[in-house]
Amino acid sequence: MAALVELQGVWKRFARDWVLKDVSLSVEAGEAVALLGPNGVGKTTLLRVAAGLTRPQRGEVRLFGKPAAALEAERGALLYVANPPAFYRHLSGEENLKSWLLLLGRRVRPGAVEEAMAAVGLPLARPVLAYSSGMKKRLALARVFLAEPRVLLLDEPEAALDEEGRKLLFEAIRRVREGGGAVLLATHDRAFAEAAADRGVVLS
């Protein structure tokens, strides 16, 4: 199997503090890997490094077999969901999704956005500033359903989600994996990690 996400000997520091020290891991196509560890251990930093959003001081990051810094068109097949997920507060959930798809250069069939919103149980017209934390998580899941990414990076995806929301989250992870994609998720909930991922990597 080909590794879609590969980190080799990654070191990352902020000011004088080394947050990541010589971290190596890979996530193959069809695989889900959980990053485990207590708060402040560097899980979010590792996800951001893996997404190519921040460069490590040392080490190599490869996505889809290419150096993360060299990605251009391939970034469209990568989806990073932060915790909490970020959306434009003065736009509705529907407007956020449509605007994002347009900028992504992704064409979806008419009605697909409305269907995705309905699938995650969200109203179309309500502005995101009136969303709860759980609703924002659901809107992020609607993005996953619409974008069908090949690499999905999730930061504490289970946080703020109710039982129904968690089912949607598992469904999103399952779809990405079955579509030949890779999932890397960060969590400190061991039970969730065991249920959602094939294997775990503990950061300490």
């Binding site: 997404a51 190519g52 251009e72 068109a73 391939e74 932060a82 959306f87 434009y88 992504l104």
Partner: protein
């Protein structure tokens, strides 16, 4: 081109719904014009002589309030990461943000032109030439402001640093625009004014080209 336009239009929609930067700039403009009007008036000849300078001083300072808006919307919503993860070379993001800021500045400059014409007797008989000067001036200002606002977007002191960076580079644009506007107000021949337009055009092309090429490197975290 479709994505550039979509980004600019989305930012414009957010700006109008958020009502933060544009309304502050308009309020600021009103105050500046009122103070300058009282300070320089009430003689018509004095106001008329000062009009081109007032136009560009007010626009430059209102522009400094608007300069950061192109990126502030991403910071306020924590969406900068999402923007940077969009596919393609990142020059298009610069062009989208530039177009948004240019649109804001041009709208403000049109409003300002009418206010200065009303309060400072700036003649509008050569309106097309005045509009061309505004377009060239706003283009140069927006080109520089979009670039530097992207450069400092992650700094906590961005709002303080940005006007210093922008003004230090954009001074030639403002000076050329003021000279062109003075020429138009005083009825100078177009050939004389065209020299300033050419200069503005060259500045715009240089700033836009350099900024869009350098932008992908400065926006990375």
């Amino acid at each position: 081109m479709r994505r550039i336009l979509a980004l600019a239009l989305r930012d414009l929609r957010l700006e109008l719904r958020g009502r933060t930067g544009l309304f502050s700039a308009l309020f600021f403009l009103g105050v500046v014009l009122l103070i300058l009007g009282f300070a320089l008036g009430p003689e018509e000849a004095d106001l008329r002589r000062a009009a081109p300078g007032v136009l560009w001083v007010a626009l430059a300072f209102a522009g400094s309030l608007l300069a950061g808006r192109a990126w502030a919307v991403e910071v306020e919503n924590d969406t900068l990461d999402d923007l940077l993860l969009l596919p393609g070379s990142r020059e298009w993001i610069y062009w989208g943000k530039f177009l948004f800021l240019f649109g804001l500045l041009f709208f403000v400059s049109l409003l300002l032109l009418l206010l200065v014409a009303g309060m400072f007797y700036l003649p509008l008989s050569r309106a097309p030439a005045l509009l061309l000067t505004l377009v060239l001036g706003a283009t140069g200002y927006a080109a520089v402001a979009t670039f530097y606002a992207g450069l400092v977007v992650r700094l906590p002191t961005a709002q303080l640093v940005l006007p210093i960076l922008v003004f230090s580079v954009v001074v030639p644009v403002i000076l050329a625009a003021v000279r062109a506007t003075i020429g138009l107000a005083e009825g100078a021949p177009i050939a004389e004014i065209a020299a300033w337009w050419k200069l503005l055009f060259v500045f715009d092309v240089v700033y836009l080209t350099a900024s869009s090429l350098l932008f992908p490197f400065v926006i990375e975290g």
